[in-house]
């Protein structure tokens, strides 16, 4: 009687950790991360207008950097995974072991998510540092009288600076960016299951990235064209994940909204990873 080989999270974890290790050793990843950190750090040098506008700029710029550089890391990091495994034939030795193809696909995806998570954390720490620096600088300037705030309004101004600098909605914004990048990674993974070219994978996913952000306005524009709407339904609504504008103008983002958007992203991710599995399980290696 042959032993049965069930699904193993241990094997998935092994493949995920290996994928992550492999990705962080890629030069392109490190260059992107350095660019992202430099971009985020540069936000602190913007020192015009009122303190409120300065803080808004830092938040707007840094959330944008998190989203754009995070997307590039997610796409480039994921796009090379399967082609590299096929080209180097490392896939043969892995799938010749008692490893299910679904475990391989899921491990690759989770490795990519781990890469996104670590990259976002590093960028978020830098973002936090820039905000902290900005807040200290603005408070110091206010106390030194450089901003021209009258002495009796100073405590109120300092409270306002601190409240604006550390807005808990930033965490919600970062969380939704994380889910959006996970969704992009899933799209890239799906594309790479039927293509062998990394350039093709990156190009297609970048198109999805752009189309995903234009989907909302496009749906409004083509509201009376059912065929166009049906096509649009295939593209994930990435604009829904963008709450930066609300954060910047000070609108409170309810957790319910965060939950709904994240749920939408997770459902899309599950469908995409499953589709990637269906294609990859039939692929001749």
């Amino acid at each position: 009687m042959t032993e049965r080989v069930g699904f193993s999270m241990g094997r998935v974890g092994t493949i995920a950790v290996n994928t992550f290790t492999e990705s962080v050793r890629q030069k392109v990843y490190n260059i992107l991360l350095i660019f992202a950190l430099v971009a985020i750090a540069s936000a602190s040098f913007f020192a015009q207008f009122s303190f409120s506008e300065q803080l808004k700029f830092v938040k707007d710029f840094c959330l944008g950097a998190l989203s754009v550089f995070g997307a590039l890391i997610a796409i480039v990091g994921t796009a090379q995974m399967l082609p590299a495994e096929l080209e180097n034939r490392t896939l043969y030795t892995i799938l010749a072991k008692p490893v299910r193809r679904f475990e391989f696909v899921l491990g690759k995806y989770l490795g990519s998510v781990l890469l996104i998570c670590v990259s976002l954390l590093i960028m978020a720490v830098m973002f936090g540092g820039v905000l902290w620096f900005k807040e200290h600088k603005l408070v110091a300037d206010a106390l030194a009288g450089a901003t021209g705030v009258p002495a009796d309004e100073l405590p109120q101004t300092i409270r306002q600076i601190r409240a604006e600098a550390f807005d808990s909605d930033l965490v919600k914004g970062a969380l939704l960016i994380f889910v959006k990048l996970g969704l992009l990674a899933a799209v890239t993974l799906l594309v790479s299951t039927f293509s062998t070219s990394m350039v093709f994978n990156v190009a297609v996913t970048l198109m999805v990235f752009v189309a995903g952000h234009l989907r909302g306005p496009a749906a409004e524009m083509w509201a009376h064209r059912p065929v166009a709407l049906a096509l649009l339904a295939a593209v994930p609504d990435l604009g829904a994940f963008n709450v930066a504008d609300d954060i910047i103008i000070g609108n409170v983002i309810p957790w319910r909204h965060v939950g709904l958007v994240a749920g939408y992203g997770l459902v899309r991710i599950v469908i995409l990873v499953w589709a990637a599995h269906l294609i990859f399980s039939r692929r001749e290696i």
Partner: protein
């Protein structure tokens, strides 16, 4: 029980739109018995790698069936008892030898002390104990083949599929791998070996099969296939000067015919290895 059994195993590759199909393997009926070393020979494109990939479930069969120890090859369970070394294997270059084996061990659900023990055993077996903490980026071709063999053995499979295990390896490395295969055979493992090096196949294989254009054209025991039953050769040492004429006379008297009389030659491989062995600076080795 057969280690490998195929019945009418056929593979056709689609060549693209309106270009038809390529018949890579046609109705292969192969049986590799438990404990034997089987050599699968054939020119490039004859279907050897396709056969291995079908057995490993890496590609899907067009027709027929294949089993590993009676488990259908398309089931993941069939790979519990098989280890595979692909041709010119690449591994993750940033991992050390020990880390590479740990990765493959974890894929086989090994962990803790048992995993560490197995890694030590295998590095010792393939002669890479000293290079265990060196990154694979710094390994020579022969060392990569040996670490490849070690990963194939990680979960102690009864069957090994080796695709050109000595391709691009120098004669010393090639000899090491041949010795390893013989050791594996002594350990009771079954080996299916694909190789172009016919001398090596002759040295290690019990049976061979020859594939050409996707069909098995010859199969049998090596000794039976290569021995000429009509001829007999004696190797005689210290024969006196007139001895040769007397022997030839005796052969003729017995009704035989002397076809060739020559001095036995060593192989170039033996000559090469012997020269290195005698070099006082030691034998160039891969570790």
């Amino acid at each position: 029980m057969d280690a490998i059994r195929t019945e009418n195993l056929t593979k056709k590759y689609a060549l693209g739109w309106r270009r038809g199909k390529l018949l890579a393997l046609e109705r292969l009926n192969l049986r590799v018995r438990e404990g034997e070393v089987y050599g699968l020979l054939g020119p490039n494109g004859s279907g050897k790698s396709t056969t291995l990939k079908l057995i490993l479930g890496l590609i899907t069969r067009t027709e027929g069936n294949a089993w590993i120890f009676d488990v259908p090859c398309d089931k993941v369970e069939s790979r519990l008892r098989v280890g595979f070394l692909p041709e010119n294997p690449y591994f993750y270059r940033y991992l050390t030898g020990a880390e590479t084996l740990e990765f493959y061990g974890r894929l086989c659900e090994m962990k803790g002390a048992a995993l560490r023990r197995r890694i030590d055993e295998l590095l010792e077996l393939v002669g890479l104990a000293k290079a265990r903490d060196r990154r694979l980026a710094g390994y020579s071709k022969g060392m990569l083949q040996r670490i490849g063999l070690a990963q194939a053995l990680m979960h102690d499979p009864q069957l090994l599929l080796l695709d050109e295990p000595t391709a691009g390896v120098d004669p010393i490395g090639s000899r090491d791998i041949r010795d390893l295969i013989l050791r594996l055979k002594a350990m009771g493992k079954t080996v299916l070996l694909c190789s172009h090096l016919l001398a090596q196949v002759q040295d290690v294989c019990d049976r061979i099969g020859v594939l050409n254009l996707g069909q098995m054209i010859l199969e049998g025991h090596v000794n039976t296939l290569i021995s000429d039953q009509r001829r007999l050769s004696f190797t005689v040492q210290d024969l006196p000067a007139d001895g040769r004429a007397r022997v030839e006379e005796a052969v003729r008297a017995a009704g035989g015919r002397v076809v060739a009389v020559e001095h036995p030659q060593t192989t170039l491989e033996s000559l090469f290895l012997d020269a290195l062995r005698k070099d006082r600076r030691g034998m160039g080795h891969h570790d």
